[in-house]
């Protein structure tokens, strides 16, 4: 399924695989440096951690474009990226976008997962507080992203806003191509259930975020 999405995104974007990253250096030189600097990614990283480490050194198309354009793709490319982002989204089967905000808070606090020293294969965190203010009671929040305090209230708790928030978290590039926010759903960082839970943290009337 994932493969199909990626393949169709490839076609949709019309990307050639030899995008050079920066003006001053060819893709070939860069690839050589990368493979000599990360010699044996799968062997050098702890066993038991399931990901294919070597594949992380290969950029996907969105990553290539956003790197090369320094997150400023031209209008046409931006529109294509947004379309591909939208196409990658899977929706909850029950049609409900709001899960359990209490669990959402835990996910938003949790910065663990997917690093080579994270030995457990448990669910990864969303680490939203690293970049966002959310519940005002949490003072240790980062500022790379905008404040999400009172997010639901500001969006008048509408069903359309619930959906848009779910989509934004699933693939942040739906609205802003080359966003600096991770694609939590598309890249498999969070599950659909987890995304519903963080959506509830932001959008639910009971959530402390909206008190």
């Amino acid at each position: 399924m994932k493969k199909i999405i990626i393949a169709s995104a490839l076609v949709a974007l019309g990307v050639s695989s030899s995008l050079a990253l920066a003006e001053g250096v060819s893709d070939k030189v860069l690839q050589k440096v990368i493979s000599s600097s990360w010699k044996n990614p799968n062997k050098d990283n702890p066993e038991g951690a399931k990901p294919d480490w070597a594949s992380r050194l290969n950029q996907g198309d969105l990553q290539k474009i956003c790197s090369k354009t320094r997150n400023q793709p031209d209008k046409k490319t931006a529109a294509k990226l947004e379309k591909a982002a939208k196409a990658s989204i899977k929706y909850p089967e029950d049609g409900k976008f709001l899960g359990d905000w209490k669990n959402g808070e835990k996910i938003a606090q949790n910065g663990k997962g997917l690093r080579y020293n994270d030995k457990v294969d448990g669910p990864a965190g969303g680490n939203c507080y690293a970049c966002h203010q959310i519940d005002k009671a949490e003072l240790a929040y980062g500022t790379i992203g905008p404040s999400l305090a009172e997010y639901g209230k500001l969006h008048e708790f509408t069903e359309a806003a619930n959906k848009a928030t779910y989509e934004k978290i699933y693939n942040s590039h739906v609205a802003i191509s080359c966003s600096n926010m991770p694609r939590f759903g598309t890249m498999g960082i969070l599950s659909i259930e987890q995304i519903k839970d963080v959506t509830a943290l932001l959008m639910s009337k009971d959530s402390p975020v909206n008190k």
Binding site: V29, V33, N45, Q63, S67, P182, M187
Partner: protein, 280 residues
């Protein structure tokens, strides 16, 4: 004599800092970390020798002058770029191109080169242990890099970009700085591309441009990291940011890391070297 005083001061400082890191929430821990650093700074204002990083410098000097390896020579003949044996100001001009190795090297890869070529030492185990573990009190690379770095203290960073290979290393470093990869799509730019942002409460220097941030933060590695209770080197800083980026382990002394450090050195050009600085 001096060493004993140092150890006393560290014991007091570390106990205080350690206690603070067991505190409950991240805010508390962060505030306490800042307080811990403040306390160190106060101690250092009263007594400049209270910087626990100076122990690493002392150990580095002892290692530098000790005859070692199959060839039983010291590192005193090592050419760090300004000629064999010249230490003063050499660190300020690293990374640079070395003809004998035909590549650009940062301070750590150059020290490794000298160990291998001058002393005949097998550097594999040294590379393996380059980042010391808790309780080890420091690694050879941490000692030596601190010592060599301290020999440029007070001098401005002088980024070397005249040789074509230096230019190439810079360009590779720049490309790597903007390279988004891994499950989180992070590049260095994600966290270090804007002035005045932070992750949780940790302030993030803007390193995308030649900024005051860059001059202040890059010219101060190796640094004594209060949270880790030992000196960490720039190679470690790069490896740790790649870890946070969810990338696989990057090679110690690898060309990618040298290239990134070459890029950073340019952004920090003119920054005053203070090594080992005290950091969170």
């Amino acid at each position: 004599m001096m060493k004993r005083r140092l150890i006393g001061a560290i014991a007091v400082g570390c106990a205080a800092v350690f206690a603070t890191f067991t505190a409950a929430g991240p805010v508390l821990a962060q505030e306490d970390a800042s307080k811990g650093i403040e306390e160190y700074r106060k101690m250092m204002a009263e007594d400049p020798f209270a910087n626990p990083g100076l122990l690493f410098v002392d150990s580095g000097e002892a290692l530098w002058t000790e005859k070692r390896g199959p060839k039983n020579v010291s590192l005193e003949g090592c050419d760090l770029g300004k000629g064999p044996g010249v230490l003063d100001g050499a660190f300020a001009e690293l990374p640079r191109y070395f003809k004998d190795a035909d590549k650009v090297m940062d301070v750590e890869s150059r020290i490794l080169w000298c160990m291998e070529k001058l002393q005949g030492i097998d550097t594999k185990p040294i590379i393996k242990g380059a980042f010391s573990k808790r309780g080890e009190g420091g690694s050879e690379m941490e000692f030596l890099a601190s010592f060599v770095g301290s020999k440029s203290n007070g001098m401005p960073m002088k980024s070397q970009l005249s040789h074509p290979k230096e230019k190439e290393a810079y360009a590779i470093g720049e490309a790597l700085f903007y390279m988004r990869a891994g499950p989180h799509d992070f590049s260095c730019q994600t966290c270090h591309g804007t002035k005045g942002t932070r992750i949780r409460l940790q302030e993030l220097p803007d390193l995308a441009e030649p900024t005051e941030d860059a001059r202040k933060t890059v010219a101060t590695w190796p640094a004594y990291r209060v949270s880790q209770e030992r000196v960490r080197t720039m190679q470690h800083r790069m490896a740790d940011c790649y870890r946070q980026m969810r990338m696989p382990k990057v090679g110690y002394g690898s060309d990618a890391v040298t290239a990134l450090i070459t890029f950073l050195a340019k952004q920090a050009d003119g920054g005053e070297i203070q090594v080992p600085a005290l950091k969170r």
